[in-house]
């Protein structure tokens, strides 16, 4: 076969794969939007559920998901980043560190419900935080720790050795080099990890099932020790409980759309920060 024909077949195959992927992606977004848009009203966004979840809004769940995500990221980002810095920059290279790295990657593969059980045992029971926003947020934080660590590690490793040397050669200490040269250069990659984590955390149901989520609450959570409603769990509840499946299904789509928008808007903020940092560093 001629070379250019082989090449064309290759490219067509890649294009078809890309098109199929896009089809699913656009399909999900269109499907959720078209079904969800119908129920979204001002009341839906600002009120608590009424009449056994068949009327009213889902405001407590929106707020709950927002707070849970916030707690999870506030917990996991500093911890994960510090861990990544240690592993990349300070730890002696060798077998132990490799084992640590492999374990962290494996941690990412643990089913999320296991983190739920862990959260129940540790945060709810042992630390006596109870079924609360704090317990749920921390459980979610542990869930995304591996994601944040591996994204941060990759970002740190991608910082060229040459600029570290440049910094050291000017009489900077290792810590100054990390703080002022390596971290700012790695920040866009770290933020990418955060964006992915936000999506993951906001959508998880299992880790909050036993640690934070309430089936139904009238109002907003009062403190980090309150139980919360959360969008993913609310969707689950709407689809499995209750006596009015039709109405509830419509509301579930509404919740899905809001969850999608919430994740997108938070990610958007992160993307703007990342872009700013990139243009500051690289003048793009």
């Amino acid at each position: 076969m001629r070379k250019d024909i082989t090449q064309k077949i290759g490219f067509s195959f890649l294009f078809i794969c890309m098109a199929i992927t896009m089809l699913f992606l656009v399909g999900v977004i269109l499907f959720v939007t078209s079904k969800g848009l119908k129920v979204i009203t001002w009341e839906f966004l600002t009120q608590a559920p009424r009449n056994a979840m068949t009327a009213g809004g889902v405001a407590p769940a929106i707020v709950g998901t927002f707070y849970l995500t916030l707690i999870a990221i506030l917990f996991a980002l500093p911890l994960g980043l510090a861990c990544a810095i240690y592993l990349c920059e300070y730890s002696p290279k060798g077998a132990i560190v490799n084992i640590l790295r492999i374990s962290i990657n494996n941690l990412a593969g643990i089913p999320s419900v296991v983190f739920g059980l862990f959260g129940l045992a540790v945060f709810v029971k042992f630390f006596k935080f109870g079924v609360s926003m704090l317990s749920g947020g921390l459980s979610l934080g542990i869930l995304v720790l591996p994601l944040i660590i591996s994204a941060s590690q990759e970002a740190l490793q991608a910082v060229p050795h040459s600029i570290r040397e440049a910094s050291l050669a000017l009489g900077a200490t290792k810590w100054q080099t990390i703080k002022k040269v390596v971290l700012p250069s790695a920040l866009p990659g770290i933020i990418t990890g955060v964006i992915l984590s936000i999506g993951r955390v906001a959508g998880e149901t299992a880790p909050i099932l036993f640690t934070a989520a309430a089936f139904y609450l009238k109002g907003f959570p009062k403190s980090i020790f309150s139980e919360v409603m959360a969008l993913p769990y609310h969707i689950y509840a709407l689809m499995t409980e209750g006596a009015h499946p039709d109405k509830q299904t419509a509301i579930a789509y509404g919740c899905s759309l809001i969850l999608l928008l919430l994740v997108l808007s938070v990610s958007f903020v992160a993307i703007v920060i990342r872009q700013k940092q990139r243009s500051k560093c690289y003048g793009l």
Partner: protein
């Protein structure tokens, strides 16, 4: 000779793991002179100058023996902080390696990490360093732009300016023109000749014409050994060692 010995190297051996990269190096480096280090790839010349500012220590599993004195002070003395040595002995690398920061921040960085905070003083030093590195006229209107937008030659002069800003006593150039075009190379060479008035300069180069053009003394390294060192003029016209002669006449290398 009216020049003062700035760096004295005595019986220096260096090992990467169990591979010996430098064998019993002895030499003097004089102030206000350019000392060129020439030799084929892998002869240990980069290893050697990276020893002078204690950059090689960052390599795991490396060992050094012997002494290097900077103004009579043993730089390997346990009481001496390598960070301080690196401030006093600046380095310009083979590939331009500006920080992904603005032009201004690239220069002010060295001052900042050395604890200089006075804004006006920093500004003054940034300007004077850029002027000394012959880059000021090209960048004076774009100090806030990313340094990565500069051309390769400009980036290398920025790296020189960055090095000058911390006021080192010695500047090490590790093949500073290896990735530059002839015009940028000429500018850097001109700059080196200008800088030797106030600094002690060591330059590693692959380019023998460059060594002949810029240096006062030349050291020829081969397989980790210092074969010959002397006045550049005599090294290039009347080398004492046959190996030096073979190298500079292009019979190997």
């Amino acid at each position: 000779m009216g020049y003062k010995v700035r760096i004295r190297v005595e019986n220096v051996d260096f090992y990467y793991g169990c591979v010996q990269a430098l064998k019993n190096i002895n030499m003097n480096i004089f102030s206000n002179q350019v000392t060129a280090i020439i030799g084929p790839s892998g002869c240990g010349k980069s290893t050697f100058i990276r020893l002078l500012n204690r950059m090689n220590e960052l390599i795991v599993n490396s060992t050094v023996a012997g002494n290097i004195y900077l103004d009579g002070e043993d730089i390997f003395d346990s009481r001496i902080d390598p960070v301080d040595i690196r401030r006093r002995i600046g380095m310009v690398f083979q590939k331009p390696n500006p920080f992904p920061k603005s032009i201004f921040e690239n220069i002010s960085y060295g001052l900042e990490v050395n604890g200089i905070k006075d804004k006006y003083y920093v500004e003054e030093r940034v300007v004077s360093s850029l002027k000394k590195a012959a880059l000021w006229d090209e960048v004076k209107d774009r100090l806030k732009e990313s340094a990565l937008k500069l051309s390769g030659g400009q980036q290398q002069r920025l790296c020189i300016a960055r090095c000058l800003a911390v006021e080192p006593e010695v500047i090490l150039f590790d093949e500073p023109c290896a990735s530059l075009d002839p015009i940028s190379t000429a500018k850097i060479e001109e700059l080196i000749l200008e800088l030797k008035k106030s600094y002690t300069i060591v330059i590693v180069t692959h380019n023998m014409q460059q060594a002949a053009r810029v240096s006062d003394r030349t050291a020829f390294f081969l397989l980790g050994e210092l074969i010959e060192i002397g006045e550049t003029h005599s090294i290039f016209t009347a080398p004492k060692d046959k190996k030096t002669e073979a190298y500079i006449t292009g019979r190997f290398g």
